[in-house]
């Protein structure tokens, strides 16, 4: 009889345990799928195209004053990506020489990209991350692959993840499958291709847009083999890329032709533009550019005509408007995309990435405007991903409560049964021995 009870208790306990386990597993599964779905719906939202943060790596690989135009090329891109919303903390700017404060520069602290000097690209708010002798091939590859020394500051690191869209722009003197750095060493097309592959393996990007302005530039992207890369270059194999114009006061050529027309087109793009990459590529005209720009899209899974220019050039954050009174979970979030603004006077305190310790843009924002924005709009970065998940958590609340209660009861019961079982057998066994 005793053994009977014991058996029953054991059976009951194991049944309870199994039930409990099944419940837990089910719940975890359900949660996982719910979260995954929420995350998917959030990241896959129309405005973000699967990326939550934008980065830009802008490289001017040429040294010396007569290569002023290459500095201007990179700085023109810097101005554009900054204007379209990528904060300084997400821009890695590499300038191999100091053109702005060069003793030969008649206009100190400026770099111009057009004859007549209408627009100063250097401005009064610029952060050059790698400059002078720091712009080397090893440093560039280390930057891309993240293999930097532990002491390297955050401003010199590409802190991307698998949700990062990266715009890589390079300019300098090059040739068939190579680009010169500082007139001293070369980076080959294979080096960049391998670095990108390593980045892909280490989940350091979601998509890359690679642009290069140099002689025979299209050969530089010919060796890419990693997925999700869209590439464009200024000239074909055997073709030179020429400078666009000179400024007689500056005394040298001030911008390259290809970059000039690219920047001219990008000036028409603003943060909310729906212009696509195919619009952008269709704008290429070999006659004024004086070379044949190329595009490589075979590694890029999305249709180019559905890929927005701002997916790479802009830092676009997901912003949800929520009523003040309603609970965050219940209200249907209205998704609009608001570009991150880095201009000092209209700064919305959104951080696309975790704030950089040294030079976060947030510090630049005026607290008054920040508060004003936050009072009626809950602004959050797409990277946080709370808003999208919020709704699913809300709907899952009731189920959560019920199953939680059940789990508690079953847990309590099974613990009691197991306790009884452990306490019982000793006495029974002793008697059996007697």
């Amino acid at each position: 009889m005793r053994t009977n009870i014991l058996k029953r208790a054991l059976l009951a306990a194991s049944a309870a345990a199994a039930l409990y386990l099944a419940l837990v597993v089910y719940e975890v599964r359900a949660n996982e799928t719910a979260h995954a779905a929420a995350a998917e719906s959030f990241f896959g939202a129309k405005n973000t195209q699967g990326h939550t943060n934008n980065w830009a790596v802008l490289v001017c690989a040429s040294r010396y004053w007569f290569n002023y135009r290459h500095m201007a090329n990179a700085l023109g891109m810097y101005r554009t990506v900054k204007r379209l919303g990528i904060p300084d903390s997400n821009i890695i700017l590499m300038l191999a020489d100091d053109a702005a404060c060069n003793p030969r520069n008649k206009f100190p602290g400026t770099v111009f990209s057009n004859a007549g000097r209408h627009l100063d690209l250097y401005g009064d708010n610029i952060e050059v991350d790698y400059r002078g002798f720091e712009v080397t091939v090893p440093n560039f590859i280390r930057l891309l692959t993240g293999r930097v020394e532990p002491n390297v500051p955050r401003s010199k690191r590409l802190l991307t993840d698998d949700r990062s869209n990266i715009f890589v722009y390079m300019t300098g003197h090059g040739g068939n499958e190579f680009l010169k750095f500082q007139d001293n060493e070369e980076i080959s097309a294979f080096d960049i291709a391998d670095a990108f592959e390593q980045m892909w393996q280490k989940k350091r990007y979601n998509e890359i847009f690679f642009m290069i302005d140099t002689c025979q530039a299209n050969t530089m992207y010919s060796k890419f083999y990693s997925p999700n890369i869209l590439a464009t270059g200024s000239s074909e194999l055997g073709e030179s890329s020429y400078s666009h114009e000179n400024d007689n006061e500056v005394g040298v050529a001030i911008i390259d032709s290809y970059t000039h027309y690219v920047l001219e087109y990008l000036e028409t793009v603003n943060k909310t533009s729906r212009t696509t990459m195919s619009d952008f590529f269709n704008h290429y005209d070999p006659v004024p550019i004086k070379s044949h720009p190329g595009v490589r899209a075979d590694l890029f899974p999305r249709p180019v005509h559905e890929t927005l220019v701002t997916d790479f050039f802009g830092g676009v954050a997901q912003v949800e408007l929520i009523d003040d009174d309603s609970e965050p979970a219940r209200g249907t979030p209205i998704s609009i995309s608001i570009p991150i603004n880095t201009n000092t006077n209209t700064n919305v305190p959104i951080q696309n990435e975790e704030p950089r310790s040294a030079r976060a843009e947030v510090r630049d924002s005026s607290p008054a405007s920040a508060r004003r924005v936050q009072s009626n709009v809950k602004v959050k970065s797409a990277g946080v991903g709370v808003g999208g998940v919020g709704s699913s958590v809300g709907s899952g609340n009731a189920r959560d409560g019920l199953s939680g209660e059940m789990r508690t009861w079953i847990g309590t019961f099974s613990v009691l049964v197991l306790g009884a079982w452990v306490a019982r057998p000793r006495g029974g066994n002793k008697k059996a021995v007697r």
């Binding site: 040294r63 404060c101 400026t110 708010n125 952060e127 002798f133 002491n151 500051p153 040294a358």
Partner: protein, 541 residues
């Protein structure tokens, strides 16, 4: 079950309470911010402008190095630059000085600068206490890289190949805690350029940025047009006062150049900075503009100063209601003639330093020190050279008018370089210069043949060598309080450019091609000879 839950809740509440208490225990320190702009017309028609921003963290103390292994106490700053504060706490730095200058300070025309640190390029020196947790060297590496990131400068290059620990010429400006032994680390980087990207982070460390107060005049396009310009960040600790961050920007303008064809020394804020002060920085405890009035000449300063202190006109920026636009005019002067002004600021000591000798391997360094006073001067002479410059100490010679006077030089330190460690050479000595004489010091040196991978990208340009440092250790006519002031004065000589033998950088490729060809030829022949069998073949006829 319920009891367990309550227990858990209570524990968590207790934990939270404890955490909150710990957080509130961190003292909220009083902070003060002072800003000052000083304009000094110089005898040669130039104008010295000096922006000074002081942030005082009252009663704060630098982090004790022995706590480096533990979690740091939470810090809360309102005005104190956070990014810099974090760096200082992280590496437990007691005193730190960073200067970034462009151009050579003209001691003869502009006199001794208020801050001695006017070395061309970048210069960084810091006092750090010993710690068992993290060595001073490792923290130096952290601080150089951290500052490189903070100020967009290539300070990351200030590694062991640049860093020395001089024992003379550098004295702490503040106090050093006596509880831990401190080390001074010093590194010059003469090739560093200064531009807008350095000023941008500088301005971001100020509580009012460049939006209001004196700092609103810091217009990069105008500042970098100045004949000489430089910025400095100085962190000091004074017992009983607190931690002070002094940030300054100094620019020597040439109004006669800016005025174009007029060639006058009149200046105004519009001319110098292309800006005016529209509003005061609200968090500044004191915000003032000082204009040093020239002792002679008929000049007009507009608007009228709020107060005068001796020959200094003082403007209180906080009282400003309408845009403040200072100007100074010399109405009687149709043209500035700098030859009519005697160089009244000529320093007691002038230094010249050149690299002599032809050829790419041997050379000599010659330093001539001229004492313009009648009294004997004792100075400290510090030379630090990168590892590829080797001094021959036995050739160190002091001469006065061709006569050998080696008794006037007393060697303090000589740390020779070694090509394996790539540590720089440090030569320190005390030099006595008799009154009204010129002492000439020469030392032979060897320029090493460095490996082709060690050359910088623009190798043909040569290497910038840091300037020599002459420090006033004492002055016979001054005693007591003044003596300390004089000790801190340093004179930097112009930097030098050394031409090292540069290899043909395409040589490795030639060598590879040549070697491969030779190997192919030799191996091919031998392989053929060994494996082939030469036999007679009878052809069927």
């Amino acid at each position: 079950m319920v009891a367990v839950e309550w227990c858990f809740r209570l524990t968590s509440v207790a934990l939270l309470h404890g955490l909150l208490r710990a957080a509130s225990a961190a003292p909220v320190l009083e902070e003060e911010f002072y800003e000052n702009l000083k304009l000094t017309p110089l005898p040669d028609g130039r104008l010295l402008t000096r922006f000074d921003f002081k942030t005082l963290l009252r009663d704060a103390a630098p982090r004790a190095p022995h706590t480096l292994a533990e979690e740091d106490e939470p810090q809360h700053y309102n005005l104190f630059p956070l990014a810099l504060g974090q760096l200082l706490r992280e590496h437990a730095v007691t005193e730190l000085h960073l200067t970034l200058n462009a151009g050579q300070w003209n001691y003869a025309a502009w006199g001794q600068p208020e801050d001695s640190g006017v070395a061309t390029g970048a210069e960084l020196w810091a006092w750090m206490g010993e710690s068992r947790a993290i060595s001073v060297k490792d923290r130096w590496k952290g601080i150089t890289n951290g500052l490189a990131g903070l100020f967009c400068a290539t300070l990351g290059g200030l590694d062991v190949r640049r860093t020395v620990s001089p024992s003379v010429a550098f004295q702490p400006e503040g106090d050093i805690p006596s509880s831990t032994p401190h080390h001074l680390l010093y590194a010059p980087l003469p090739s560093e350029s200064v531009c807008t990207e350095n000023l941008t982070p500088f301005l971001k460390l100020l509580p009012c940025k460049s939006r209001s107060g004196v700092a609103s005049l810091l217009n990069p396009h105008r500042l970098f047009d100045a004949d000489w310009h430089g910025m400095g960040v100085h962190v000091t600790w004074e017992e009983g006062l607190g931690v002070m961050v002094r940030m300054n920007f100094v620019a020597v303008y040439n109004p006669t150049r800016l005025m174009g064809l007029q060639n006058k020394r009149d200046w105004s804020f519009r001319l110098l900075f292309d800006r005016s002060i529209t509003r005061a920085c609200p968090v500044a405890t004191r915000s003032a503009i000082h204009v040093a009035l020239p002792s002679e000449g008929n000049f007009r300063l507009e608007p009228t100063a709020h107060s005068n202190l001796g020959n200094i006109a003082i403007f209180d920026v906080s009282k400003v209601q309408e845009p403040l636009e200072l100007s100074m005019k010399w109405p009687d002067e149709s043209e500035f003639d700098h030859t009519s002004f005697a160089p009244s600021l000529s320093p007691p000591l002038t230094v010249r330093r050149v690299l002599t000798g032809a050829g790419q391997s041997q050379g000599a360094l010659a330093v001539s020190l001229s004492n313009t006073n009648t009294e004997t001067m004792r100075v400290a002479w510090v030379e630090t050279m990168p590892w590829f410059i080797k001094f021959y100490l036995h050739t160190l010679e002091a001469t006065i008018k061709g006569e050998r006077r080696n008794d006037l030089v007393k060697l303090v330190t000589y740390a020779p370089t070694s090509s394996s460690s790539q540590a720089p050479t440090l030569l320190e000595s005390h030099v006595t210069i008799p009154g009204n004489t010129t002492l000439r010091l020469t030392i032979d040196l060897e320029k090493s043949f460095i490996s082709y991978t060690q050359h910088p990208p623009a190798a043909q340009r040569g290497w910038d060598l840091p300037g020599g440092i002459i420090a006033f250790t004492s002055h016979s006519s001054h005693r007591g309080e003044k003596e300390k002031e004089l000790r801190e004065q340093r004179i930097y000589t112009p930097i030098l450019l050394v031409d090292l033998p540069t290899p043909d950088f395409s040589m490795p490729y030639n060598v590879i091609i040549m070697t491969s060809t030779l190997v192919t030829l030799l191996f091919g022949t031998i392989f053929n000879m060994l494996t082939r069998k030469f036999v007679w073949i009878k052809l069927h006829e």
